[in-house]
C-alpha cells in the first residue's frame, strides 16, 4: 500500500503539491488525473523518492520512500521522457536494470521485446519516440517491482501498442503483486484500464475513489419539466454539479443516490426524463468546475 501523508512540495514560490493525502491499495490500477500543472508528475516524483517533499512523507508498504533503498526496490518509475545512456541498446539498458532491480526478469524482457518487434542490439537513439516508450514500459514491467509509476505512458504509443500495454498491465495485475499508478491527462486511456482514480487540481487532491463507485455516485440526467418553478425547485433539491438548458431540455449532472434522484425527478412530473452514462471526462469536468476550473472562464 502506498500512503501519501500531507505531502507539500514547493518550487520557489510555486506550491506544486499542497498537503496531499492519498492511499493507493495493492493490486489496483490507479489512474492519476488532473488539470494541467495540477502536480501529477510532481506527485509521482515524490512517490518515487526523486523529490524530497518540503512537508509530509510517502510510505511504500509502511516504509518511508525517501533515501530508502528497501522501499525503492518495490517501485519503478517510468518518466514522461525516458533516459537511455548514450549509444545504449535495449540490451544495455536491460543489463543495467538487472543490476539495479534484483527481481528483474531478463528472459521475460527478451521475450516481450521480440513480441513487440524491438531489436535488442539496435541503438536506442535510432528508435522512434513510440519504440523508446515501449522499451521503457518493458523495462518497468520486467523490473518485477510491486509498484510501477507511469507518467504519461501512453503518449506516443500507437493504438495497437496502447492496447498491448494495457493488456500487459492487466495481466501483471492478475498474475502477481502489481500496482501500476498511471498519471495521464488522457482520460479515455485511464478510464479503459484503471479501477481507481485520483483527481488532482492545483496541487491538492480532490478525491481518490474506485471508478465504478464514482460513476455510481454521479449522474447525468436529461429531462423536460413542464413548469419553470418546478424546475427551479428540482435544481435546489439536487446536489447539482453542472446544469445546462437548451430550449426546454434540461441537462443536469448531479451527485447522489440513483433511486433518490429518480424519485425527485418523478415528483416534478417530467414530460421526458433519462439518466445517461457518464464518461470520466464528464466527471472530471464537473468535479473541477465545482472548484472553479470552468471551461466557460477560459473562453473569451
Amino acid at each position: 500500500m502506498i500512503r501519501v501523508e500531507g505531502v507539500t512540495q514547493k518550487f520557489d514560490d510555486i506550491v506544486a503539491l499542497d498537503q496531499v493525502n492519498a492511499t493507493i491499495n495493492e493490486r489496483c490500477i490507479f489512474g492519476l488525473v488532473g488539470t494541467n500543472g495540477a502536480g501529477k508528475s510532481t506527485l509521482l516524483r515524490v512517490m518515487s523518492g526523486i523529490l524530497k517533499p518540503d512537508a509530509g512523507q510517502v510510505k511504500i508498504d509502511e516504509l518511508p520512500v525517501w533515501e530508502n533503498p528497501q522501499a525503492k526496490e518495490r517501485i519503478c518509475f517510468l518518466p514522461d521522457t525516458a533516459y537511455f545512456f548514450p549509444n545504449a541498446t535495449a540490451a544495455t539498458m536491460r543489463d543495467y536494470y538487472r543490476v539495479l532491480y534484483p527481481k528483474f526478469n531478463a528472459d521475460r524482457f527478451d521475450e516481450l521485446a521480440e513480441q513487440f518487434g524491438l531489436d535488442l542490439r539496435r541503438k536506442l537513439s535510432t528508435f522512434s519516440k513510440g519504440m523508446k516508450k515501449q522499451v521503457s514500459v518493458l523495462l518497468g514491467i520486467c523490473a518485477n517491482t510491486e509498484y510501477l509509476f507511469c507518467d504519461e505512458t501512453f503518449d506516443g504509443l500507437d493504438p495497437v501498442m496502447r492496447q498491448a500495454v494495457k493488456s500487459l498491465f492487466a495481466a501483471e495485475t492478475l498474475n502477481r503483486e502489481f500496482t501500476p499508478v498511471i498519471a495521464s491527462h488522457s482520460l479515455r486511456e485511464i478510464e479503459d484500464i484503471c479501477d481507481h482514480i485520483g483527481l488532482l487540481h492545483r496541487g491538492g487532491i480532490l478525491f481518490a475513489k474506485d471508478l465504478d463507485e464514482m460513476k455510481l455516485g454521479i449522474h447525468k440526467i436529461q429531462c423536460v419539466i413542464p413548469e419553470p418553478a418546478w424546475e427551479e425547485e428540482l435544481l435546489s433539491e439536487l446536489e447539482v454539479l453542472q446544469h445546462d438548458k437548451r430550449g426546454s431540455l434540461l441537462t443536469v449532472i448531479v451527485r447522489g443516490d440513483y433511486e433518490e434522484i429518480q424519485s425527485k425527478i418523478q415528483e416534478k412530473q417530467p414530460l421526458f426524463s433519462e439518466i445517461l452514462p457518464l464518461t470520466l471526462e464528464e466527471i472530471f469536468i464537473s468535479e473541477t468546475e465545482v472548484v472553479g476550473y470552468d471551461v466557460k472562464n477560459l473562453i473569451f
Binding site: F11, D12, R45, S48, G49, I50, L51, K52, L63, E67, N68, P69, Q70, K72, E73, I75, C76, F77, P79, T81, A82, Y83, F85, Y96, V99, L100, Y101, P102
Partner: protein
C-alpha cells in the same frame, strides 16, 4: 535500510558508462609514455654503451615529465568530474538515477570510484607498457619501478584533488555553463583578489611596505588560493632530479603530502554533503542553492566594480571617472549575474537591491582608500608607545649583503636594523607623514626610506616614506656614531679575511683622489664612468653631493703624511696609464685580500655615512659562505675611500697594470 545492490556491480556499471573516457585517456597516455620511450630508446641505443647508461636514460623516459603529468592529471580530474556527474544538469537523467533503489551516498561513491578507475587503469596500463619497453632494452631496475609507483600515487592525488574540487562546483550549480564559471572562479578568485589588493595598495597606500612584489610576498597565499594552485606549487616543490622522482629522487615534503590528502578528503566530503542536500529539481538552474545567489553575485560584482575603478584611474587619472565606472560596471556585473541566474534578459534588474548594495559597498571601499579613512598613510604612533624603530633606504636592500644570508626583503632589513634610539628615527617618520604623497616640498631634495615601528604592545608596523634628504643623513650620522649600529648598516665591517674569496675593482680615473682634485689628468668628470647606472633610483636625486666629498682634501684630512706621499708616488706611477676614460681593472691577489679588507673597513669606519651611501662606484667582493657556496657583494667605494684606493693603486702598480 541498506541496499541489496552490490557496490562493486554498481561501480562496474558506472565504469561501463564512462569507458569512452578511459579509452581516450589510454590513447593519450600511450602516446605520451610508452610510445616516446620506445622511439627514444631505439634511436639512442647506439649512444648507450653499458647498462648503467641505459637505466639512466630509461628512467628519464619512464618518469614522465612531472609538470606535464601533473597538469594532465588535473585536467583529467576536471573532465572526469564533469562527465560523471553531468546527469545532475538534466531533469530526465535525474529522474532515472534518483529513482533507482540506491542511496545517494552509494551512487556518489560508485560514480567517484568509477571515475578514479577511468583515470588509473589507462595510466597504469601505459606505465606497464613502459616497463615492457624497458625490459626489452634491459633498462629496468626495481628502484625505477618504485619511482613509477610513486609517480602513480602523485598522479592519483592530483587527479583526486582536481576531481573533488570540480565536484564541489558541480554540486553548487545546475548547468554546465555555470559549473565552468564556478571552476574558473575557484581557480582565479583569490589571485584576482590579490591583484586588486595590490592595485589598490599601489594606488592609494603609498606608505605601504610589502606590496611591491606580489608574486614573492603572496606566494604562500597563492599556493592556497585553489586546489589546482596547491597541486602545481606542491609539484614544483617536490622537484625532479636527473629524471628521478619519488624515492630515489627528490621526494615531496611529507607535510605537503598530508595537506594534499587532507584537502582531497575535505573537498570530497564537502561535495558529498552538497550532493545529499542538493534537491533534484534544481537540474537546469544556474545555482543549486538559491540562497547563495545574492552572496555569489555580490562577491563577484564587487571586485568587478573595483577593478573598473582602477582601470578608470589608470586611464583617465580621475576619481570622478572611477566613481562613474564603479556605478556602471557594478550594475552591469549584477545584471550579468542575474541574467546567468535567470537566463532572461528582462529579469536583469530583478533584484535591484543587489545593484544598489554593490554600488554602495564598492563606493565605500574606493572612497575609503581614496581619502585614507582608516589613516593608514598618516599612521604615526606616540613616541611613548614605541619600544624600537628602524630606518633604511632602498640602498641597503640593493647593496648590503649579510654573509650567509639570502637576499633580504625590506622588512627583514628593518627587523635587523631595529634600534632603541627612537627619538632619532621618529623625527624622520614625522617628516614622512608630513610630506605624505606630495613627493617633494619646494626645492627640498627628498629620499625614499623604509621605517619600522615596534610598539611596546608587540605590534610591528612597517611604512615607506618620502623624507627630506638632509634630515635622513643627519639621522643616519647620529645612528652610525654608535659603531655597533654602523656595523649593521655596513655589513662589510663584519667580514673577516677568511670569508672573502675575491676582491675586484673597476677603477675609473675620477676615483683617484689626487688626480681628481688637481685635475692633472685632463679627464673631465663624467658621471657615466662612475657606474651611475648601477645606483638605486633614489641616488639620482642626490648625485650632486658626490662632487664635494670625493676630493682628498675633504676626506684625507686625518691621514698621515707618509701615506699621502706614498699615495701620490703611486698615483704618479700609474697616471700615465690612467688617461682618457679607460678604467683600470684591479684583481686583488689572494695574499693581499686581508690588507685591502682592513683598509676598506678603516674607510667605512671613518667616513661620514652620507659619503658612503652617496659613493658613485663599488668594490666587488666574492664571499665564501659555505662549502663551494659563494655570495657576491657590491660595496660603496669611490675617491673618498683614500685608504682603499691608495692600496688598490699600489696593487695595480705592483701587478704592472
Amino acid at each position: 535500510m541498506t541496499s541489496r545492490i552490490s557496490f562493486s556491480k554498481l561501480v562496474r556499471m558506472e565504469f561501463r558508462q564512462q569507458i569512452w573516457l578511459a579509452a581516450l585517456q589510454g590513447l593519450l597516455y600511450t602516446l605520451l609514455l610508452p610510445f616516446p620511450a620506445l622511439l627514444g630508446m631505439s634511436s639512442e641505443l647506439g649512444t648507450m654503451a653499458n647498462r648503467g647508461d641505459r637505466i639512466d636514460h630509461f628512467i628519464w623516459w619512464a618518469s614522465f615529465s612531472r609538470d606535464m603529468g601533473g597538469l594532465l592529471a588535473l585536467a583529467a580530474g576536471v573532465i572526469c568530474a564533469l562527465c560523471a556527474f553531468a546527469y545532475l544538469y538534466s531533469q530526465t537523467k535525474v529522474d532515472l538515477y534518483h529513482s533507482l533503489p540506491v542511496k545517494r551516498g552509494q551512487l556518489f561513491g560508485a560514480k567517484y570510484a568509477a571515475s578514479v578507475l577511468t583515470f588509473v587503469l589507462p595510466f597504469v596500463a601505459a606505465q606497464l607498457l613502459v616497463l615492457v619497453v624497458g625490459l626489452g632494452y634491459n633498462g629496468v631496475t626495481g628502484a625505477m619501478a618504485m619511482e613509477m609507483a610513486v609517480l602513480l600515487v602523485q598522479q592519483i592525488l592530483f587527479f583526486l584533488c582536481s576531481y573533488s574540487a570540480v565536484l564541489v562546483a558541480v554540486m553548487l550549480t545546475g548547468k554546465l555553463l555555470t559549473t565552468i564559471c564556478a571552476v574558473l572562479v575557484f581557480f582565479g578568485y583569490v589571485p584576482l583578489f590579490l591583484l586588486l589588493a595590490q592595485a589598490f595598495a599601489d594606488e592609494f597606500l603609498y606608505t605601504a611596505v610589502g606590496f611591491s612584489n606580489m608574486w614573492s610576498l603572496n606566494k604562500a597565499t597563492l599556493k592556497y588560493s585553489s586546489p589546482w594552485a596547491f597541486c602545481i606549487f606542491w609539484g614544483q616543490g617536490s622537484g625532479i632530479e636527473n629524471g628521478r622522482v619519488g624515492l630515489t629522487g627528490s621526494l615531496p615534503s611529507v607535510a605537503g603530502l598530508c595537506q594534499l590528502v587532507a584537502l582531497i578528503v575535505l573537498l570530497s566530503l564537502l561535495s558529498l554533503a552538497l550532493y545529499r542536500r542538493r534537491r533534484s529539481e534544481v537540474a537546469g538552474e544556474a545555482l543549486a542553492f538559491r540562497k547563495l545567489e545574492p552572496v555569489i553575485k555580490i562577491l563577484l560584482a564587487l571586485p568587478a566594480a573595483l577593478i573598473a575603478a582602477i582601470v578608470a584611474l589608470e586611464t583617465f587619472e580621475s576619481s570622478v571617472w572611477a566613481v562613474v565606472f564603479i556605478l556602471l560596471f557594478g550594475a552591469l556585473a549584477c545584471m550579468l549575474m542575474e541574467f546567468i541566474y535567470r537566463w532572461d534578459i528582462r529579469q536583469s534588474l530583478h533584484h535591484w537591491q543587489h545593484i544598489l548594495f554593490t554600488a554602495v559597498a564598492a563606493l565605500a571601499i574606493f572612497l575609503g582608500f581614496r581619502f585614507d579613512v582608516f589613516g593608514y598613510n598618516s599612521y604615526l604612533p606616540d613616541q611613548d608607545e614605541l619600544q624600537g624603530m628602524a630606518v633604511n633606504s632602498a640602498w641597503m636592500g640593493n647593496r648590503a649583503i649579510l654573509p650567509g644570508k639570502e637576499t633580504m626583503s625590506n622588512q627583514e632589513w628593518l627587523d635587523y636594523l631595529e634600534t632603541d634610539q627612537v627619538d632619532i628615527v621618529y623625527g624622520l617618520a614625522e617628516n614622512g607623514v608630513e610630506i605624505g604623497d606630495e613627493g617633494c616640498l619646494d626645492d627640498t631634495i627628498v629620499k625614499k626610506i623604509y621605517v619600522k615601528y615596534h610598539l611596546k604592545n608587540g605590534k610591528e608596523v612597517y611604512r615607506y616614506y618620502t623624507v627630506d634628504e638632509e634630515l635622513y643623513f643627519d639621522a643616519m650620522e647620529k645612528l652610525c656614531q654608535d659603531m655597533e649600529c654602523r656595523e649593521k648598516y655596513l655589513p662589510v665591517l663584519q667580514y673577516t679575511e677568511d670569508m672573502v674569496y675575491r676582491i675586484y675593482k673597476t677603477l675609473y680615473p675620477n676615483e683617484i683622489p689626487v688626480l681628481y682634485s688637481s685635475g692633472d689628468t685632463g679627464v673631465e668628470e663624467d658621471e657615466s664612468n662612475t657606474g651611475e647606472s648601477e645606483l638605486p633610483e633614489t641616488e639620482d636625486e642626490t648625485s650632486t653631493e658626490n662632487d664635494t666629498e670625493t676630493g682628498i682634501g675633504t676626506s684625507g684630512e686625518g691621514d698621515s703624511g707618509t701615506f699621502m706621499e706614498n699615495l701620490v708616488d703611486t698615483v704618479m706611477t700609474v697616471s700615465g696609464r690612467l688617461t682618457g676614460d679607460a678604467p683600470l681593472e684591479i684583481e686583488v691577489p689572494r695574499e693581499r685580500i686581508g690588507e685591502v679588507l682592513s683598509a676598506y673597513q678603516k674607510d667605512l669606519r671613518e667616513l661620514p655615512y652620507r659619503t658612503i651611501e652617496n659613493a658613485g662606484s663599488y668594490l666587488e667582493m666574492t664571499l665564501l659562505v659555505g662549502h663551494n657556496t659563494f655570495q657576491w657583494s657590491s660595496s660603496p667605494l669611490d675617491g673618498s675611500f683614500t685608504n682603499t684606493i691608495g692600496l688598490l693603486l699600489e696593487i695595480a702598480t705592483e701587478s704592472g697594470l
